[in-house]
Symmetry: C3
Subunit: 139 residues, 3 copies
């Protein structure tokens, strides 16, 4: 179904550092393989992309526990790239668009100017679906 | 890979109001764009579709925290549509089927009559996969 | 987009018994329908596949609560197959590959020999994406 030029559409809902990290690695990998990537930020992921908030501690999934959080912190201490840097590199390397979900913006009472400049624009879910011509993942 | 007539297949596993809300908006958007949508309710999502249970407070993902829960509650107070209404509208507007996963029904000891009437039927995972001719998301 | 010979690609991130169970049922179903399945273990799912760890209690999603955990435990008492058995059967029945994500291996300081023998090899995200020619789900 998928020739490798198809868009990868990512609905990014979760706002913990582990899931944002997994999403960033997936997006970077796809962009490096020449895939177009379209990201829609919703709910807690949108909150994580607020201006000045990306580098805050966003915690990990409950199942990670204190040990999991410690493993991630160690990685950061060793100089591993933060997920926000990985998204920035992916945008430099490939054709990656980051949209804020219009419905979630309304939910949290946010304006475009409240968001980190890495976010390209505000888009509704219907428009996002219309452009989703390849795989779609919900993270 | 995807012409816009392909089915969107949604495995709906999570039963918190934030994820159910995100799923409802995705399904509504796809239905409004003329996409067929096939939903398989599993585990905690299935529990949220029990008869009489849809409008209960199902909480939010832990990462949402009390602030996130408050944001969702404010939205409801402002008259925003509940996710259960959005699914109902999507079924009216488009070709949307809501199946209860046979394996999860057994897990929780449920019968079809225990579920909200918006659920169409009980279906096994294999049958669901067989009909999944387009994008598949797990929420 | 999808003829039924396409690969189903599963990014398995979560490490709780409920999500691992849902993933195992999905993978078994797809394999039984003759679909090739490619699984990439990340983060907490990778931890759940450590040698000697698969049958430990990995808990359930917070939304499941004590009641949900009890429902899963009852199922096990009734002799239902454990998710690790379901993955093993799927590998016997069909063409199912289980890869450990190279980035997550580094994150947790793991070697291939630290993992359950059901894991086939270690693979980077880019290689996984390159082989992902069908639906992709993130669990």
């Amino acid at each position: 179904m998928n020739d490798q030029n198809d868009t990868l559409s990512v609905i990014l809902f979760s706002g913990t550092d582990d899931k944002l990290g997994a999403a960033a690695v997936l997006v970077s990998g796809a962009a490096a393989m020449g895939r177009r990537v379209d990201i829609l930020l919703q709910y807690w992921a949108l909150e994580a992309f607020r201006a000045g908030a990306t580098r805050k501690d966003h915690g990990v999934s409950p199942e990670g526990g204190p040990e999991g959080a410690a493993a991630l912190a160690r990685l950061a201490d060793k100089g591993a790239q933060h997920w926000s840097d990985l998204f920035a590199v992916a945008k430099d390397v490939g054709e990656v668009a980051i949209h804020a979900c219009a419905q979630s913006m309304e939910l949290f009472g946010l304006e475009k100017s409240d968001l980190d400049p890495i976010v390209d624009d505000v888009e509704g879910v219907a428009a996002f679906i219309l452009e989703a011509e390849g795989q779609m993942v919900f993270i």
